[in-house]
């Protein structure tokens, strides 16, 4: 961590005049000596007088002030060491320094206090331009990524990145500009410009997206949510009910309760926007209701404008896919809230993940007009003998607004080694002549039991990257006719459930991805689904 220099101020205690020293007394005296020595180090009050940062080039100093300000509050030496360590981590997290070293020294100079300390951070800035080459694993696809990065462009930890990626299913390039808020790295803004070309053989579709997006990440304390929650849980729902009542009264015939989805279509556009806001607030309420133990939630607010070009991948594409060819413009606002209390993203042993995402398109221009909601929940619990039980639930719904039908590029897809195992990639649900069209509503659930490899070969090393797993997956995907009520929708989602079970081996790749080799037995197969019974291989980041 660095060299520590400290000088003791108090003289060592002297023995008494009694020379006939009892052995017990001797020990006591020695312990007293040691104790006083320890006292010097731990309990001695210190004052941090100066904190310096050396080695700065283009970085602006006001940015770093926030990261190192806590070091001044340290009261004793151990505290100084701990806080300097934390400050060092924060400086490294900014992503603008290659190395940071900490030197703690007693202060000297004219205004030096007897117990004053000087802390110096010696930093090495990153070069102005760096290049990188890596391979990436996505959901059942792999790609090579070439990147050029300009860290710390204007001196306040902004980052400009250009990336080119060539993969088995997708080719893309993009420019990205990242700016954190000085003093609060977790609040940041990202601007992206990109072009992505993807090929989807399960739908015989190829898609080219050219877009621009702006993303704002903030992280809130849920303590805020409690007061928010109390205020809104009692007041807003009352207003909410009144609003719903007024809607159902304007609808013809018998007032059907909670016919929200029908109302969605015939509502004027302002009301749908209200619904988006209500649902955003509602998702925050839900998190508070579930009393998630972590006290931080991450929110991401994003605006995205995309020019989408759809085309047929082969001449033999079905006519339903051919009808979707052409150009559309989507301009969408989306909000994602996520809480992750798991101890690791791959093979978590405990904790839970909840992520709720909503997207509203059409209010800021463009052709596409819809409200899309989806959520992801995962809970993990450790059982006997190092095995972990994990349950996950995904679901989503797409409401087209304004009467125009939904586009194949916006719908949900289900099936494959990363979703309901035992079925072909995205090969469940509505299809036409072998091309899968996706659906407007879906749910999927999984129950997994992860155990270490039998007989634990390679324990402590390579063997820890593997797990065996037994799974049960289920799910359904369908289109909803929004003229019916929610009860009919739930019924439709509950019939014809596809499910599968099996076992396999999972390998962890780094901290983000995993590979799976499973033996699957699909059940509940409906006509039109493509199955993959037997051995199935999958690679990806996000698994059911």
């Amino acid at each position: 961590m660095g060299t520590v220099h400290a000088r003791s101020m108090d003289p060592l205690p002297m023995h008494g005049r009694d020379m006939a020293v009892h052995p017990d007394d001797m020990i006591e005296v020695q312990e007293a000596e040691q104790e006083t020595k320890q006292e010097i180090l731990e309990n001695k009050d210190v004052v941090v007088q100066h904190v310096n940062i050396e080695g700065l080039g283009r970085t602006k100093e006001d940015l770093l002030g926030y990261e190192i300000s806590e070091v001044f509050e340290a009261k004793n030496l151990i505290d100084v060491m701990k806080k300097s360590h934390i400050a060092r981590q924060k400086l490294l997290r900014l992503g603008i320094f290659k190395e940071v070293e900490v030197v703690i020294d007693t202060s000297d100079g004219a205004d030096a206090l007897p117990n004053g300390l000087d802390v110096t951070f010696e930093v090495t800035e990153m070069k102005r331009l760096t290049g990188s080459y890596n391979t990436m694993v996505g959901n059942n696809e792999g790609s090579m990524v070439l990147g050029v990065k300009l860290p710390n462009v204007f001196g306040r930890a902004e980052k400009l990145t250009f990336q080119f990626s060539y993969g088995t299913k997708e080719t893309s390039y993009g420019l990205s500009f990242f700016k954190p808020q000085p003093g609060n790295f977790e609040r940041n803004l990202t601007l992206n410009l990109y072009k992505v070309t993807g090929q989807f053989p399960w739908s015989s579709l190829k898609e080219t997206d050219r877009g621009v997006s702006t993303e704002l990440n903030v992280s809130w304390l849920w303590v805020f949510g409690v007061t928010y929650h109390v205020k809104f849980y009692f007041i807003k729902p009352f207003l909410h009910r009144q609003w719903l009542k007024s809607l159902t009264q304007t609808a013809s015939q018998k007032p059907q309760r909670a016919n929200k989805m029908m109302c969605c279509l015939c509502l004027p556009r302002t009301s749908v926007f209200q619904m988006f806001c209500h649902t955003s607030i509602l998702s925050v309420h839900l998190l508070c209701l579930f009393q998630f133990p972590l006290w931080r939630t991450n929110h991401t607010l994003k605006w995205e404008g995309v020019w989408r070009e759809l085309g047929c991948l082969a001449r033999s594409a079905s006519f339903a896919v051919r009808e979707e060819s052409g150009h559309t413009l989507k301009s969408a606002l989306s909000h994602t809230v996520s809480i992750d209390t798991r101890n690791s993203a791959i093979f978590p042993k405990k904790g839970a993940l909840l992520r709720i995402n909503q997207e509203l398109a059409g209010y800021t221009g463009g052709d596409a007009s819809f409200l899309k909601e989806d959520f992801e929940l995962q809970v993990n619990r450790r059982l006997v003998w190092d095995s972990v039980l994990s349950a996950s639930l995904w679901g989503g719904c797409l409401f087209p607004i304004g009467g125009s039908p939904s586009s194949i590029a916006d719908r949900f897809y289900l099936g494959g080694p990363t979703s309901v195992r035992g079925f072909g990639m995205y090969s469940i649900g509505p299809q036409s002549e072998g091309d899968y069209l996706g659906g407007e509503a879906y749910w999927a659930g999984g129950l997994h039991l992860y155990t270490p490899l039998p007989f634990r070969p390679g324990r402590g090393g390579f063997g820890d990257l593997f797990r065996t797993h037994f799974f049960l997956n289920a799910g359904n995907l369908c289109n909803l006719n929004y003229g019916e009520g929610p009860r009919a929708h739930l019924q439709k989602l509950a019939e014809c459930i596809r499910w599968s079970y099996g076992a396999g081996i999972v390998l962890r790749l780094g901290n983000i991805a995993r590979l799976e080799l499973n033996y699957c037995i699909p059940m509940g197969v409906q006509s039109g689904d493509r199955i993959c019974d037997g051995v199935q291989f999958g690679a990806g980041i996000r698994f059911l």
Partner: protein, 301 residues
Amino acid sequence: MTLMLSVPLTLSNFSCYSPVCIDSSHFIMSLAAEAFVSQIAAAEPWPENATLYQPLREDQILLSDCASSLAVQAYLRMCNLPVQVSYRPNAEYMSPSGKVPFVHVGNQVVSELGPIVQFTKAKGHSLSDGLDDVQRAEMKAYMELVNNMLLTAELYIQWCDDNTAAEISRPRYSSPYSWPLNHILAYQKQWEVRRKMTAVGWAGKNLEQVYEDVSQCCQALSQRLGTQPYFFNKQPTELDALVFGHLFTILTTRLTSDELSEKVKSYSNLLAFCRRIEQSYFEDSQAGSSSRGYSKGPSLF
């Protein structure tokens, strides 16, 4: 790679379910498979629900596309094959070759007049069976003349003449899209057509030369037609459909200037020819105002 592993190796496991997609649909069809498919096409009769797709009539379609579409419709009417017309803003992108119109017949999608003529011939309907080889060659030559001269002239006037492009072509072409996509697509199409004009050597021409070319083409057609009712004997052929499509559209579309339609009007036998075909084949659907609505200008009458 990873995708292929998840494709089932045996399809017969679930025989109680109908077989799902054939994997070859994900790959380019071989020539043998195409020949097989066209044999199947020949075996099936012309269905009742055959549909022709073209861009939106009122706001979007341009002169050249309208002419091609009218030619195909005239041809199908001459063959007595029923077809419904469907208007889609993305018809150009739906088409397998990128050109409108295209017909969706059974499982097949065929675009442009040439392939459609072949397709109907495979089904046993043909207008040019009565011609001998010399006449057939002549017919093909005149069709090439119309395609190379008239169609190219229409494209030139629409996209290379700045006036017309700014006032008519770009606004109409981009009408179904929202900002800024409308401008991007309109300019993209304009650059594409201009590049094509350069490739065929028309980039150096000016508007007067193009009108002159149109005039010469009409003169050649007029001379061939003479006083006959149709170009070959008394029965119409695909050449008649093609010429009708282009000339009728030119006569009934209002552009920034009337010069193009004046060039055609100066040949009275061509005028009579268009009138004759309109009366014989399009009069029966007057109630739906289908013939009047091909263009944004007034009708011939």
